[in-house]
């Protein structure tokens, strides 16, 4: 998955588990940038009576690097507080929830946003209401309205939303994690000699009809860039917990004490999931991007690039030769760790310097595309991934193709990719997502309700 349950420790701590990060110039407000950090993987919409919520004991952050050193120059911190109206009922709601201040909604959540820079910190908004989870036609009969009410204007421009949304990341988990058996090409898989599959099959979106919790922030571009002449920003999200937790400290409540310590991080999709090896994943989650030179060898020689020619015999001979040569994958290092320098892709750069750091790099001077291509830059659309990431970008296919060698000619013009490198995919598109993406903030679809989903 993009970063859902991607490391052993964080997979046991879903409220702090970052799942996806998006950063793009807002298509309907092009003088702003939208940043979306998703948490809590694979929410089943009927998951009551204790429906999903952010952790009051988690500090969520969206971090921005404006000078390419891999450290945060601007952080937006989000802290949540849950309020229970009536502790003597087991119910989340006792009647339909018709507004965010509905007396029948028993368990509400509010949040504070703090903007932190080297100059200090400033609370920019507080006591902002989250929407309820989407329960069903009796409990949340006008959920679109409730979700819209939870979009709050920010002082100084921009807007924010924090709460449940439809999962927009589409991926065929069942096939990928079954030894890389991509359904559209399963007849070409070595199948470990079992000869189970003889025909290609369409992909299955395993995250369809599931929800996530999104922190969506739209702010003026001028608030994120160091200057108009340095339009590229690096973005990542992080979640932190306090050092010490005492279970059952008083009245069976947990007690959290000590400084905040990072337990989850996400920049580029699939980085920790696919690039970082098992033994280092938890460590990676605790570190800032400025430490990523320690993981650069896994980018330069990705394990998956070596596996593809083995799993799909005779399909990737050029990739096999490239792997055997031991040449570092400078294309992947540029895409994931430094940004793409100017002169590589005509009219494009999101280079932030030589510091190797996994960040989602967005060149804010590139206007939104009027006809987006879900393959982003490799599809000729400079406003898409890896120039930031839009909610509908097909990052699984983009990264599969990049790892398969499609982008290596950017750094070695003598290399001819395998034909399969431009075709490999898990077979999904945005139409694989039941809840449509929105054309306005917060862009992710309205959360699925638990009465009708799954269906």
């Amino acid at each position: 998955m993009s970063s859902h349950r991607e490391a052993p420790e964080i997979s046991k701590d879903p409220v702090a588990d970052s799942t996806d990060l998006y950063a793009f110039v807002s298509p309907d407000q092009p003088d702003t940038v939208t940043l979306i950090a998703n948490y809590i993987p694979l929410e089943e919409p009927p998951g009551g009576p204790n429906f999903y919520e952010f952790g009051d004991d988690v500090l969520y952050e969206i971090n921005i690097d404006t000078n390419g050193d891999g450290d945060a120059d601007i952080s937006y911190q989000f802290s949540f507080t849950t309020k229970v109206r009536n502790p003597d009922t087991f119910l989340y709601n006792t009647a339909p929830i018709l507004s965010l201040n509905s007396a029948s909604w028993n368990r509400r959540q509010f949040y504070t946003i703090t903007r932190v820079t080297d100059a200090g910190s400033e609370v920019i908004a507080s006591d902002l209401a989250c929407p309820p989870c989407n329960i069903g036609p009796l409990s949340t009969p006008h959920y679109d309205k409730l979700a819209a009410e939870a979009v709050h204007a920010l002082p100084g421009g921009g807007q924010v939303f924090a709460g449940q949304r439809a999962e927009g990341f589409y991926v065929d988990l069942g096939s990928i994690f079954d030894l890389g058996n991509l359904r559209p090409f399963e007849e070409l898989h070595n199948q470990f000699g079992m000869h189970v599959f003889t025909q290609p099959a369409p992909g299955v979106n395993d995250t369809n009809q599931k929800n996530v919790h999104s922190i969506a922030l739209q702010v003026p571009t001028s608030a994120l860039v160091a200057s108009s002449t340095t339009p590229v920003i690096g973005v990542w999200t992080a979640a932190s917990r306090q050092n010490v937790r005492l279970a059952g400290a008083a009245d069976a409540q947990r007690l959290d004490i000590g400084p905040w310590t990072q337990v989850s991080r996400l920049g580029n999709p699939l980085f920790n999931e696919v690039i970082v090896p098992m033994g280092s994943k938890d460590q990676w989650n605790a570190l800032p991007p400025s430490s990523d030179k320690n993981f650069a060898s896994h980018v330069a020689n990705p394990e998956l690039a070596a596996l593809l020619p083995i799993l799909y015999p005779n399909v990737f001979p050029s990739l096999a030769a490239l792997v055997a040569s031991g040449k570092p994958r400078a294309d992947l290092e540029a895409i994931l760790l430094t940004g793409i320098p100017s002169g590589i892709v005509p009219g494009f750069t999101n280079f932030t310097g030589t510091v190797q750091a996994d960040m989602l790099r967005l060149n804010t001077s590139i206007a939104p595309s009027s006809s987006p291509n879900i393959l982003g830059v490799i599809g000729g659309d400079l406003a898409g991934f890896p120039n930031g990431r839009r909610v509908f970008d097909d990052v699984v296919t983009i990264e599969l193709r990049a790892i398969a060698g499609l982008t290596y000619p950017l750094v070695d013009s003598s290399f001819t990719p395998d034909g399969a490198a431009s075709k490999v995919t898990d077979g999904l598109t945005p139409s694989s997502v039941k809840a449509p993406f929105l054309s306005t903030f917060p862009y992710l679809g309205v959360a699925y309700d638990g009465f009708h989903n799954p269906s």
């Binding site: 420790e9 009051d56 004991d57 500090l59 952050e61 945060a72 952080s75 911190q77 802290s79 949540f80 507080t81 504070t112 703090t114 932190v116 200090g120 910190s121 400033e122 609370v123 992080a238 932190s240 917990r241 306090q242 050092n243 010490v244 937790r245 005492l246 400290a249 409540q253 947990r254 007690l255 959290d256 004490i257 000590g258 400084p259 905040w260 310590t261 990072q262 337990v263 460590q283 605790a286 570190l287 800032p288 430490s291 320690n294």
Partner: protein, 115 residues
């Protein structure tokens, strides 16, 4: 003599990794040690800490701007983590701060309390 070796984290942000990037105190070890430390907080031991801290302890500051019910509650509690081995390092947690104390005698007293 009490001393300290804990660098301060960057103000306003979660605890910065020290050195090459890892905290001295892992999350798992702290979770395991928390119960032991709480049990060792006898009145006499706390008095030792109070004496030790001003002599050279350093405090990792709280993340500014963050608040909430848990934070307010935790201000009323103190947790001490006595590091493994015989080095005499202790971390004292209160609110959103951590204070590193080097006091072999106090560490030994706390360990004796648990026997």
């Amino acid at each position: 003599m009490p001393g300290n070796d804990q660098p301060e984290s960057r103000p306003g942000r979660p605890d910065a990794p020290d050195g090459s990037g890892r905290s001295h105190v892992s999350r798992r070890s702290l979770l395991g040690a928390a119960g032991v430390s709480a049990a060792g907080l006898a009145a006499g031991a706390f008095g030792g800490l109070a004496a030790a801290a001003p002599a050279g302890a350093s405090t990792t500051p709280a993340a500014r701007g963050h608040g909430g019910a848990d934070l307010r509650d935790s201000d009323e509690h103190v947790v001490v983590h006595v590091h493994g081995g015989r080095g005499g390092d202790l971390d004292v947690f209160r609110g959103t701060s951590r204070t590193r104390v080097h006091d072999p005698e106090l560490a030994a007293r706390l360990r004796r309390t648990l026997r």
